[in-house]
Amino acid sequence: MPSSSSLAPFPPADYPDLPSNWDEMWDPAAGVRPHWAELVSGLSGLGARDWAARNQRIKRLLRENGVTYHVYDDPRGYSRTWELDPLPLVLDAAEWQTIEAGLDQRARLLDLLLRDLYGPQQALRRGLLPPELILAHAGYLRPLQGALPTGRRQLIFYAADLVRGPDGRVWVMADRTQSPSGAGYALENRSVMARTFPEFLEGDRVTRLNAWLDAVQATLNGLAPWSREMPQVVVLTPGPANETYFEHAYLAARLGYTLAQGDDLTVKDGRVWLKTVEGLKPVDVILRRLDEEWCDPLELRQDSRLGTAGLVEAVRRGSVALANPLGSGLLENPAILPFLPALARHLLGEELLLPTAATWWCGQEKERKYVLANLNRLVIKPINRGLSSETVFGGDLDRRQLAAWKARIQAEPHLYVGQEPLSLSTVPAIQAGRMVPHRASLRTFAVGRAEDEGYAVLPGGLTRCVAGGKLSGQSGALNKDTWIVPAQASQAVLRAPPRRREQSLLTSRAADNLFWAGRYLERAEAVARLLRTVLDGLWEEETAPGLAPVLTALMALMGYAPGQCGCGDRPDLAACVRELTTLGERPGNLAQTVRALLGCAYGTREYWSVAIWRLLDRVERDWGQGSKRPKRVTPSQERTDLWLGRLIDTLAGLAGLASETLPRESAFRFFDLGRRVERGLTQATLLAHTLDSRLGGEAERESLSLVLQSADSLVTFRRRYRTEPFLAGVLELLLWDGDSPRSLLYQLKTARRHLAELSHASLRSNAERLLFSAEDRLYATENTITDLHVDADERLLLSTTLGELRSLLAGTSDAIGHTWFTHVQELHALRPLPPEPEED
């Protein structure tokens, strides 16, 4: 483990000199390279404990900030924590300047090419590019031909993967133009490093990254088709299941933009609109992180459920700008690479500054012959992304495989390129506590400014490395921060206007998720408390009769009808409990409720604070797939009690923090509404079952004590009444006491206050009306109980009322959904209001 030793001596004596290799830090002839010297001497001075603490700190910060990278169908669940190596890649500022100029040039060239290919197609007409190279590429989106606005920059975001060869030259391995990802991770890497190694990063030692986001914001705002003081920009994401969803949410939060999924947008009157809780709002600019082919089921992939019908038409009418535009993935075609030098001369009148790996497109006869003759040492790449075949190294293939590849290439030669394999330089990284050379590549990022200003390049980037072997797939790669030293004043900072913190709009989807996060949080807590109460009760056998109402209430909350808990025909309390307390996932049970809560939280991650992420992360670890929690329990198992206790504490902490940190705007109101509605339902259910049980005597006292315990109100009751629990007192405290945050009345009043704030000034929402009548109902029963004894008639009346309140609350939840979350019929076509309550 890294904690066992310090880094001194740095580099260690056993840091190997690999033959015919360039190491970024270590020059076998001269030792540590000069631009690494400061870092090396600084790290050598760290003691073992200090070094270990900093390693821990990196891990903790990444977990707490929720920096995750999803891998589809990963058995470990939704989120995999980002792995950041404590050693950065250090680059010399003078060299960086040449790289920066090369990237700017390449981006300018690709921008011109993009505009030509979707416009006049001069490159194809004049033979600068063979037509098949473009026309047979899956990234050429025909509906966009002629649709991109002319006369302005179209390639807004550009990324390039760079590597360094054995001679020290930097090469471009691939261009990323479709919807390049990674810049958010690079920025987050830096902020974690800055908090871990402040002595290296404070002041002006390493070029800062902050200004780049200002350039991004200025660019995006400037793209708005109609100049507006505050253009509406949204970040379009495929949703929480996407591998880089963290970055989408991160950028939305950092830039003050609304995070939206395809469903959150609708096309009307030739414009794109955002569905928000305040109605439809026009959208000017879309930062697109949804792959282009999925963006419009009408004109692009018809099977897409992630897009917005009509988006292409809105683009065609010029009412919305997309960054990057639809169709830009075309430029990722590796078959373009061999033509770039000539294109640069023709379109820019410049020589290409950065070299690219030698590439041969098999659509040309001579080139095809060369590739087929040298297949065993070349890299084979399909020109289309997402074909079943990924990059293949000819050297890895046996004779049969080589023959199969030759046949494939010969059948459709224009779909493949052969590429000279690039050798990757090494960089030190920590592996099992030791410093080991890793093969590295650097993803760099650029954003296009006004046409005459070129591109702003992020001074640094995302370095990824692996120990030995090739860097092909992303799995198993380690990430690094990238330092440019000595520090340079960033060019981007000069032109960027001061960033204003904008209030992003609450989308209907986010409101929906927040509301349900509130409901699931409350339900999970209630069920966990009840489960624990039941388990405690069974511990002492003699209290079993008093347990029955709590148990039936628990079953009702989980959606079981009495007798349907799976314990067979013969009601057997112990068997029932075993079924209900199973912690494995069953529909409606605790484990499933917790998963649903996590799902809603991931869907709204830009609203949650760091501290909340820490707690959500704990819940995920305990309750996500692959956690070590017991799947089955016996009632007396202490471990179960421990798990439940931990969950209850975490959930209570979550609720408290959310109330503290969510801004008192609509986001908080929807979240808290969910909690109030759910708690109202829970409380009504619990008390109705208690009333219906008609236990009386000692059993009733026991039962009431359990009810209070599960409502976390036993102490309050004892303090107030200074006696054993009795029915009238429990009802008073849990139903009508408007000051007690556990009472039903409190839930109704609080929920109604939120609704009043959310509704349009003159318009009272349906949900509000339903809550009004629920309150009326509750008040009407307040004087039912005249003395300390609750007789059978009073029990019946109250139990009936509680039933009515439950349906009113369920109706409230539905009405909230209709009013704020569904926009299918738009706001003007909402359902008619229900009749006023009948009684006075």
Partner: protein, 297 residues
């Protein structure tokens, strides 16, 4: 110069209420060297909230529309009048089909006004979503293409063979029936035969495109003509170095005639589907289509 009136109506029934309906129609005919569109209009019922027309990169007229009111049915009717020039004029020098393929494979023409057509032809030499270049299609087609045979002669032979070898059988195939299945079962409808011919011709290095349109049908002797009894039709057109595209109808085994009215063209059916749409709210739909072609003069 005969004038035709074409009415093409599509009626959608949705089992449930549809709240949002976005669609694209390629139902308005275009001008071609052989026809002039005198007028054309598109009617939608109920009235749509947004309707916008444009020409796609092939030059076909496209209407984009959107309905945002709840509805249970939708009717899209296109009515047009087309003046057809009789085919004729000088057929030009016969050109061997291989030299057509060679010209096409060569560099772009230097005259800017010819480059657009050349580029379209290069595109029509490639596989497309519904026309994969399968060897069996090329093998079938190539027996009509012995060395040095003039292109139009070879095409006439190919179309006659398709008509003789394949049975016209409506409803046996769907829009996404693969060519391999058509080859296997030896039956299909006009669009299957067009796709089969396209796959083979492109496999030989020729540029061939898919044409959608209508065919005037003559009612059986002594019977009145039935409204809506006609249907959409499809055939192929092959690039010729003199700048013409030669229209051939594999379903009827011949070059196209006076009664062939062009609607649109593209790489295959997917580029020119008359109607496509996305609905929100309704799950499925039932569609009735009626086409009537009448000769006015």
């Amino acid at each position: 110069m005969p004038i035709f009136r074409v009415e093409h109506s599509s009626h959608y029934h949705y089992p449930g209420e549809v709240g949002l309906n976005y669609g694209e129609a390629r139902l308005l005919p275009r001008d071609t060297p052989g026809q002039t569109v005198l007028d054309r209009r598109l009617e939608l019922n109920p009235r749509v909230d947004d309707l916008h027309q444009r020409d796609d990169p092939w030059g076909n007229r496209v209407a984009w529309f959107c309905l945002r009111q709840p509805h249970r049915e939708l009717t899209v009717t296109a009515v047009s009048r087309i003046a057809r020039r009789p085919p004729g004029g000088s057929p030009g020098e016969p050109v061997a089909w291989e030299s057509v393929a060679d010209t096409l494979a060569g560099p772009a023409p230097t005259e800017p006004e010819r480059q657009g057509d050349w580029l379209a032809a290069r595109e029509c030499r490639l596989a497309s979503p519904l026309v994969p270049l399968i060897p069996r299609a090329r093998d079938y087609v190539s027996s009509s293409f012995p060395p040095d045979r003039p292109l139009d002669e070879a095409l006439a032979d190919l179309c006659a063979r398709i008509q003789a070898d394949y049975r016209y059988q409506p409803y046996a195939t769907g829009i996404d029936t693969p060519i391999s299945e058509v080859l296997e079962k030896r039956h299909g409808v006009c669009q299957d035969f067009a796709h089969l011919a396209l796959a083979g011709l492109r496999g030989l290095g020729l540029a061939a495109r898919y044409v959608s349109g209508y065919l005037e049908t003559t009612p059986p002797e002594g019977q009145p003509r039935l409204e809506g009894a006609d249907a959409s039709h499809a055939w192929i057109a092959v690039w010729h170095p003199d700048g013409r595209w030669l229209d051939f109808d594999p379903t009827n085994g011949s070059p196209t005639g006076e009664g062939h009215l062009t609607l649109a063209w593209g790489r295959d059916y997917a580029d020119v589907a008359p109607l496509k749409g996305v609905i929100v709210g309704g799950a499925s739909h039932r569609l009735e289509v009626g086409v009537t072609v009448t000769r006015e003069a």
